[in-house]
């Protein structure tokens, strides 16, 4: 009897639990189905990868044009030795809109003194000693900026500048410490091309004619220069 009751209870218990187990199985199937679905649609939950290319940042690389290279030709009056042609080159560096530094190399050739011409035969210097070469380092000031007008429709920018500096003159086989003072006029034909008219005085001490004196060697020249 007891056994029959046990069997009945067990049957009831089984009846109650089996559908639940069947449910569990179903639930597991659903989970599996859900995970399958996840795998097939990755866009739903995955991290978004932005497809943006990084823009290249370009720092401004603006070309400087503070240097000015020039060539000139003119006349220099070498004290006691007459006036002669002179030519040379210069390199300037513009520090600010008002000030610049300039390095100049020039060369000429001295003529004869009046004494040599009158006496006929006497020669104070050898041919090689008549070579006249100088260099100068100067500082300039664009004192008067302005314009020049050609006709009604044409205007060019100009600047009148004053400058002074030091250097050396090689003359009569010797070097002479030279101070230079001068003024010039720059006409800008374009933004990079300029014409120059300059007058310079080169002063140095010389004892070539027996007595030591300060000589003034005045140079007038025209030139052309380019800014770069």
């Amino acid at each position: 009897m007891e056994v029959r009751v046990h069997v009945l209870l067990l049957t009831v218990a089984l009846m109650a639990t089996l559908p639940g187990c069947a449910f569990m199985g179903k639930g597991r199937d659903r989970q599996a189905a859900a995970s399958d679905a996840d795998a097939s649609a990755p866009g739903e939950h995955a991290v978004i990868e932005p497809e943006v290319t990084r823009r290249k940042i370009k720092t401004p690389k603006i070309r400087n044009s503070d240097f000015e290279l020039g060539a000139y030709y003119g006349i220099i009056s070498i004290e006691d030795f007459g006036s002669n042609s002179v030519y040379g080159a210069s390199l300037s560096y513009h520090l600010t809109e008002d000030f610049f530094l300039e390095a100049t190399f020039g060369q000429s050739r001295a003529g004869k003194t009046s004494y040599e011409t009158l006496s006929g035969a006497a020669q104070l210097l050898t041919s090689k000693e008549r070579d006249y070469r100088y260099y100068a380092l100067s500082a300039g000031w664009d004192a008067l900026p302005g314009e020049i007008f050609l006709g009604r429709n044409r205007a060019y920018n100009t600047a009148l500048y004053l400058l002074g500096g030091v250097g050396s003159t090689h003359f009569a086989g010797d070097e002479h410490f030279t101070v230079n003072l001068g003024a010039g006029y720059r006409i800008l034909m374009t933004n990079w091309l300029a014409m120059h008219m300059d007058v310079r005085d080169y002063l140095f001490d010389s004892d070539l004619l027996g007595k030591k004196k300060t000589t003034n060697n005045i140079e007038a020249r025209i030139g052309v220069s380019v800014f770069f």
Partner: protein
Amino acid sequence: MRRQLALLIVLPVLLVTTAHGADNSRNRDYEVVVADPFIEMHTGAGRGYPVFYVVERGRHVKVLKRRTDWFLVRTERGMEGWVTREQLLATLDLDGKPVDLHEPSRTDYTTRRWEAGVFLGDFGGADEISAYAGYALSNNLSVEVTASHAIGNFSNSLIGEIGLAHVFAPEWRVSPLFTIGTGFINTKPKATLVQTQDRNDELAYVGVGLRGYLTRRFSARLEYRSNVVFTSRNDNEEIDEWKLGFTFFF
């Protein structure tokens, strides 16, 4: 003489062609947007040249080149003129950020690579002109090459030197500096003296000086050097050298 003259003419021409070739390729794209109410365009790179055109806010301009504190710009309509740095600072680049026109200042001296300068001085009684170029090894220490020309009453000298310069405190407005180096000296007696020989000797120097910052990339430098010339005679020659100069760094 004729050849030199030709060179003088050819050189600037060559330079122009190369400079302007480089100009076009490098600056083709640099464009900014005016952010100030307007910017003024001058006919030349200086305040003395007249304003001839005005560009309004929002317009685009191309920056072509710079001369001192002035910038050559080209408008959309093709007008070219010079604008000051102050006005261009208020423009924006195409990303809408202010244009960075870096201006060297005192603090930049510590990160300099190159510096150069010219001096006027006294070399044992002779007038001296010298120029130097330096390369910075660290904030304080740099290698310097100097070329000098001393013009005296009895002789002229050409001096070439290489040495080290140590700026004690590069961040200070005025800083002490110390130099040490070696070189050679070529001495040529004056032509008016009795026949004497040119001399080539080695020399060494130690020096002390002051470097004072002026403005932008410019400094002044005062230096004293004690030179010893190793002559071929029995005793060495000692020469005091004083010089004051103007220097700039990059």
